[in-house]
Amino acid sequence: MSPTKLNLKDKYKLLTRDLDWEFSYEDRQEAFPYEEFEGIKITDWDKWEDPFRLTMDAYWKYQAEKEKKLYAIYDAFSQNNGHTNVTDARYVNAIKLFLTGVSPGEHAAHLGFAFTGRQMGGIGARVAAQMQSIDELRHIQTQIHAMSHYNKFFDGFDEFNHMHDRVWYLSVPKSFFEDARTAGPFEFMVAIGFSFEYVLTNLLFVPFMSGAAYNGDMATVTFGFSAQSDEARHMTLGLEIIKFLLEQHEDNVPIVQKWLDKWLWRGYRLLTLVAMMMDYMLPQKFMSWQEAWELYFEDAGGALFKDLERYGIKMPDYTETIKQEKEHLSHQAWWTFYQYTHAAAFHTWTPSSDEMDWLSEKYPNTFDKYYRPRWELAAEMEAKGERFYTTGLPQLCQTCQIPMMFTEVDDPSQVAYRESVYNDERFHFCSDPCKSIFDNEPEKYVHAWLPVHQILQGNCGGGGLDKVIEYYHLDNGAANLEFEGSPDAERWKQWKGVA
């Protein structure tokens, strides 16, 4: 290294901290109008510690390098008809779910971090949030580019943006991010920066991407890991903000604890989609949802909470519920989508007998007892030409917006229902934590745009299910319904030369 070069610390100081200025003639409070209304007390922004000393010049340099690598692979992928090299056409449904359900969340995160990157009073935190905002924009762009190749050959991709604001199960991720974005800057940071990015994002990206690699999907694994290389930075920003808030003032502790309790649960409920993807949607499976949960949440999250104990922060009370649910989650979710796949932008199927054996092995306490009989019956009906669909509409949880499908912790044969009355109106929930989130901020959640209510009120195309499907821009008979016999499946057979 040449001796004239600044060291990392000095360079960081000059190119980040020194970008700030004193407010000599403007009121600082007016410049940062959102900094106090959440009740958070900041005494000294100078105490902010930056984990990665990344300056803007280095940021552009490394990001440009990542993009170059990424797009070279995209080119190779499409030039070599990479879509024909995936393990099976069923696999593609996992990335349809990703594009419709996850990618718009990247865009929401982009907007959210642009907001906090403007509103936090400390320059270090602001610069880090601005970088993250740009990263998240890069994520949705690279994801759309990667999927645009699949879009030429498979159904269900093209209307992802239109669908995101309308389709029943997509209201789950949409409302999650909208809930965070309509909070103040610090709650947003605890919600997305910490709870989602630090604690849960590994469970979203790492299994999705390892799964993609395992199933021959080079484009997805590449954008996934390229995005994930930004994620390590996002995670440390999340951890830093938590430590900073807790160290700044003891009055911040109960506020942060309440946000953690809320957002870890909201995020966990959102990951139901990942559980189902891992256990049911990957033709070549590599790790069960339960195993991923144990590795990335119980193990890594456990170490984290042990570290936060000294501030008076504790693991949320419901972690026992989650522990029990981990053996049921994916089965209940796939069963729900299996029944309602006529109104979904991806296909579903019954697991093959090999896949069921894998599930029995991974879930020895629950699969054979509760779920195998259901799938065997579904397969039997299908063989007789009576593929099972539910025509009624499910009841949704007012908080997480997921259909009521989760069972009682002590009785897996009983679906859990909770309710609260607010202003003489009755509201329904899937679980105790979803109920208490509502009870803490009822005035926020009474406004929830619940897809089933909207359908029943005639706001989704009016009329029957056909009208709803039209309103969703769902290509009926192509993008929805059972995988077997779908145009996707037929094209795949042709490419592979199977009669």
Binding site: L54, Y62, V206, S210, Q228
Partner: protein, 89 residues
């Protein structure tokens, strides 16, 4: 003490970073998973610039870690000469 972990894309640069980690953190456990390499260690884990330079056979900047990083846990200590992750418990 809690375990820290760090994961890299499985590629030609990470291979040498992992070799340097193994050399400098003898208790580290390396897992090869689809398309990625995950390394765990009790308490803390350090990547020394000099060790990576030696392994890779050319100059290597600690910040270029960003290119191949997938995820990590623990608190970070980053200097010109090393990159360290650790828990305080």
């Amino acid at each position: 003490m809690s375990r820290v972990q760090i994961a890299f894309q499985d590629n030609d640069e990470s291979r040498y970073i992992v070799a340097a980690i193994e050399q400098d953190n003898p208790t580290a456990v390396v897992h090869y998973e689809p398309a990625m390499i995950r390394v765990e260690n009790e308490g803390s884990l350090t990547i020394n610039r000099e060790s990576v330079c030696e392994q890779i056979g050319m100059d290597w900047n600690v910040q270029s870690l960003h290119l191949n990083l997938i995820t990590l846990t623990g608190h970070i200590d980053e200097e010109d000469d090393y990159f360290k992750i650790m828990w305080n418990n």
